[in-house]
Symmetry: D2
Subunit: 278 residues, 4 copies
């Protein structure tokens, strides 16, 4: 029994004492930047108020949405990426999608995440708090330094969020996608450094999590291979991290509850960083 007043659930006690919720998710809007590889987010109101009024004076409006799953802030399911024809579980990547859905590693297999999260605010640690340049590769040394400067430790099972500052370009479609400018992020080395800390998931404020060189597009994604395929670590992209960084929050309770989209390769999400009020 969990509802006896006699034994207060410590979690309820902590929440009741006051928490601050930092919203790490983007607003989904028509026209927001996203990878051209995915169906864009679109929305319409098939029914508006006044279209059909019931006998009691009530009416309901509703929506129609079309989209990929790697739109806005989103999490990659393990099924998203294959290497040499294999998925993270060693299965044949082509056979795994028979039926038009990934039964074993689809988005519906991502458990809700309620874990300790840490923010590595790299540009602040490197002395340019506004953000890194397009194409800048965040190295293991950068990550080490950031953790040290912040006094942040990473435990196995944590969720590690890497701020690059590139999120400031979200309202500028071409720059956020970064085809010409590139996008800052970890490369294979940084991804390996992260994976070696054995996090449950990693995230960033960029469209593809990893470093994209100017003009290179999404042709090679080594961090996806290391994290998703080789280590089974989820990747969260296009997060809102500037507010969290500005608040100086580097350790928090991270909550992410992806839509249980059966067989899909990912899900749009609205992750939260929750901290007790001081």
């Amino acid at each position: 029994m969990h509802d006896s007043a006699a034994t207060v659930d410590p979690l309820i006690a902590a929440v009741s004492a006051g928490v601050e919720v930092h919203d790490l998710g983007r607003t989904l809007r028509i026209g927001m930047p996203q990878s051209p590889n995915h169906p864009p987010y679109w929305h319409a109101l098939p029914r508006r108020h006044g279209d059909m009024v019931r006998s009691d004076g009530g009416s309901a409006a509703n929506d129609m949405i079309s989209m990929g799953t790697h739109v806005g802030t989103h999490i990659d399911a393990l099924a998203h990426v294959s290497q040499d024809g294999r998925l993270a579980d060693g299965s044949d990547a082509r056979e795994a999608s028979l039926g038009g859905r990934f039964d074993a590693l689809g988005a519906h297999t991502i458990d809700p995440i309620v874990r300790t999260g840490v923010l590595l605010d790299v540009p602040t640690a490197l002395g340019s708090p506004e953000g890194l340049d397009g194409g800048y590769e965040i190295t293991p040394a950068n990550l080490e330094l950031t953790a040290k400067v912040q006094g942040t430790t990473i435990e196995e099972g944590d969720v590690v969020l890497i701020r690059s500052g590139w999120g400031r370009h979200f309202d500028d479609y071409a720059t956020f996608v970064g085809k010409e400018t590139g996008v800052p992020g970890v490369g294979e080395d940084g991804a390996t450094w992260l994976a070696d800390r054995r996090p449950h998931a990693v995230g960033a404020d960029t469209i593809a999590f990893e470093c994209l060189k100017p003009g290179a597009g999404h042709g090679l994604l080594p961090a996806h291979r290391v994290l998703l395929v080789e280590r089974g670590i989820y990747i969260i992209e296009a997060m809102v991290l500037d507010d969290l960084a500005a608040a100086g929050v580097h350790r928090f309770t991270f909550v992410l509850s992806p839509l249980k989209l059966y067989g899909a390769t990912g899900s749009p999400v609205r992750p939260l960083a929750v901290v007790s009020r001081g």
Copy 2:
């Protein structure tokens, strides 16, 4: 600073001590039951592994989704329902949707919810734990009795979930929608009783939250009027509540983070009930 080892955030401490996460969201699948008023959930994989392999042996699969927002487990934004031409904030309901989106009361205005949640397991309290009959109207007396039997108190700002047991029919499309059978739930009286407790949101394991009489369809929805329009209380529908009830969890930390769908009338969600491990 929140990351000093010296001052442990009580929330992090509570989570680190061990929590159990109850998943209250439905899996979204092609063919799942939903109201015929909304575009049905559909999914395809535009790209499967093997369709396009990059030079390094990697490949990515992706998704295409079409849906309404009141699909699967979902939350209603305040913009969803109007009464006598007015929305919850008193604005003109038709004007509020100009531009094809609800700027003031759309789904993007629903803040993430991290609050105390309570479950009112009505059928168990009434002696038929499997569930109520189609069309059964849950009365204020039923709700009072359930709270009393459970020893559950409802505080202002809580999220109150009403279990009817109808979720057991989710795999039977026609029954879950309930056009012929009806669906159990609160009527105007029960909704008013709930609203008087001043909850932040309410939820149920049914398609429309409220009592639907056999053959009546969704023609009259008085609980929506009371809750959404008159009191500004969010409604969450098609929740998975049987597992939570079976575990005897009646008070918990409730987490819900709707997609920030700009201007939409609701969002599919995957709510969580989180409890500290005993």
Copy 3:
């Protein structure tokens, strides 16, 4: 030169002399009957007049559509059906869809059709002009008889339309789909008889062209195998044929111009039967 007044194009002359156009296509509406195997037709207006008025007082409304291609009146591309792993051109059916599109036999490869069409009004010939019963299999003898009664000859390359009368049930979703009632149409024998006349395409006023037995669903579709895979003959479904039959038009110029949907398995269409005014 085709524009000299001196040499009048005979086709222009025929059209200018007066033609009657019979519309053989269904109206596409939300909620119309279609096979549950395909994404249903949905429509919304993302922008209505008044949402955004330009400086000169003009405004534009627009649409958002989600659908399968086998919706409303539609034509099957040869890529739609495979038998024993092979398509109509003998290619491996699975490999043919690599890339998420059928390059060789997709809907974009269906040339516009401007040919002689013939209508076989089977129920009228059989003495029940309103229509055949659900599950009735139209035999070669029925087809022979109909052609004879009508005085209709079928030439190689013609488009042959089979009226069953089942189109009268289009406004009754369950009956038109025919899961319980079955649907009248040709079976393997009738399809073979048709194929032996070497038509360019065949069509019917039913959801699947061929005979569906009550309760049988779409589990076996031998006419599709014979026509699409073995003979390379297009199939047109859910046509409106009652008006044409009522007008006694059995031979006409048939025009069908499918959308050139790259790589798709079919296209919604609005076929026409055009006849000179007497």
Copy 4:
């Protein structure tokens, strides 16, 4: 009776004698250029061959499509544009869309077109057959000259197609849309000249039919006002006209059969120019 061998339908005779069909429609592909005001065309195969094989060795593949209606080659319904709050029939433009569909002037009200068509090959007449420059406004004098050079007369009820040559840029997204370069076409004067000839419909090989000045976008569309709203003349856009021009075909039988999309503001189409073989 139309099927007696004794009285051959002149249209059938003309078609049987041999016709050449010029396809004036674009292939619909993911990524093709279209106005950003409309949901882009997207396609996926929810089911591929091999995903589900029936007991008899057969399998069916199918499609999922999301799009606006003003995609690829398309026709504007009269409901598409309003001026000063009124539609072509004088009705209140906002009220006309109540219910989320245009009952009176939607795409379902566009009758199939089987009429004489004429091509005005403006750039060839002006001595630059490849095509006009971005932003060039085709004047009444240009249209007069073209008709004269070609020896083409326009009769009331004809369909008049204006070639600008801009279709050569269809594979170059940015240029075809023309935000920076502009797009050639008629302005208000040219539209009025056309309207005064009382055509049934007009068309062009550009994204918006009318002249767009470099950098001006779609902010002002006077030709749409003149043609759709003031005169009730349909507009067809993004046509393929270069092949027809290269073949020197200036008069033909024009066939266009829009999808009967109930209440929509337009329809993708695949128009045909049909000529008797010499």
